[in-house]
């Protein structure tokens, strides 16, 4: 099985590669459209600012490829946000995989949210073996509100989408690669998805 991490110059991909290595899985970094298209598992990472990340995706043609992928795809943090319809960060259009618009937390809370928060209302095999209120690590200023595709929730200011799923596409706001044993379990579950 070949796992590919999309390398488009946006994010701490080294940590994701190491997280898979700790599971004895070699994840390959690639920006090559053909290599990504034929991989068995695709990781779509991202940290940083949305509009510059989106321009990098467009430069390499990945913006048109990603929504057409048929294998299991996991968007992480900004990767998940870019898979939504639209984001308030830079007011840009996303890839439209998830039918929701990304918003910014208000100044009623500290922004960014930084630290460990609890997952609940989890649905689907991706969360197999993960107990309700398990803690995951998050760092983000923007969030996807609850919607039909929400498959896990977290509370910060309001309950919002900690994870989104549509068909073969999964998106998580948290960082499984930095979320201790819970994160490792989730990455294992992702690899085991059919």
């Amino acid at each position: 099985m070949k796992t590919v991490i999309i390398d488009y110059g946006a994010g701490n991909i080294q940590s994701i590669q190491f997280a898979f290595a700790r599971l004895d899985v070699t994840a390959v970094l690639s920006s090559d459209v053909h290599e990504i298209a034929v991989a068995d598992r695709v990781i779509f990472p991202g940290v940083g600012e949305a509009s510059s990340a989106m321009s990098k995706l467009k430069d390499s043609g990945l913006d048109t490829l990603i929504p057409t992928l048929k294998q299991p795809v996991l968007g992480i943090c900004l990767g998940m946000q870019l898979m939504c319809n639209q984001t308030e960060e830079g007011n840009i259009q996303g890839l439209g995989v998830f039918d929701v618009n990304v918003k910014r937390f208000t100044s009623a809370v500290k922004v960014p949210q930084m630290g460990w928060n609890a997952l609940n209302q989890m649905q689907g095999s991706f969360f197999k073996g993960v107990p309700n209120n398990a803690y995951v690590y998050l760092v983000h200023s923007y969030y996807a509100p609850l919607c039909n595709q929400t498959v896990a929730q977290t509370q910060y200011e309001i309950p919002y989408s900690a994870a989104l799923q549509k068909d073969n596409f999964m998106g998580v706001q948290f960082h499984p690669e930095k979320s201790g044993t819970v994160g490792a379990q989730l990455l294992t579950n992702f690899l085991n998805q059919s």
């Binding site: 080294q14 997280a19 700790r22 940290v47 960014p112 630290g115 760092v139 200023s141 690669e177 201790g180």
Partner: protein
Amino acid sequence: MLTKRIIPCLDVKDGRTVKGVNFVNLRDAGDPVELAAAYAQNGADELVFLDISASEEKRKTLADMVYRVAEQINIPFTVGGGIASVEDVDILLKNGADKVSINSAAVKNPDLINQLAAKFGSQCIVVAIDAKQINGQWKVHLVGGKVPTEIDLFDWAKEVAQRGAGEILFTSMDHDGTKNGFANEALSKISTQVNIPLIASGGAGKISHFVDTFVSGKADAALAASIFHFKEIEINALKKALHSQQIPIRL
């Protein structure tokens, strides 16, 4: 609910952990990877590595250490100490650091904060501030607290947030090493005036100090070094105690 973070700080020199660290179970107490793994196992929410080496090889040695830590450790970690340029930060993040902390370089060249936030995102830029009171006024200090400036702590905290810092690590030089508790009045003032996360540092001596800094100091995280290294307080026990006092904590 977002939990309060407990952060052990490790001083490193030439890629090795320094300060007498009292972990009997470690094969090599100077190995940052082994020590980091022990802390992660013991419930640490994050780690901070503060590089105090001054060698010519500093940059490469630190990058190598960051790579080895990132390879093994599955919780976030921040690296600080002498970081002065966009290039320094780029190397550390590429090797797997989650965040970097800048201190004196930001005071000397505040625009560095804007540059780093624009290039890497605010989420990975921690601005560390060392301060102490001079005639009742909190003044920012440089070089590990040795060199005073005229800069007011609270003005500087607001400025770094406006320039794009993602987090502030505030160390009170008046409290550091005293084990008499954190600078909760100043912390609370920063936390109220500045809308980014705040890490309290300096003064931890017992469990109640952590309760105080989260409740009265309004800190989002608390950092300590020697009390953890010498096992005066075990992180697991600390977190259980905080949890029993209704402080939101990851157990």
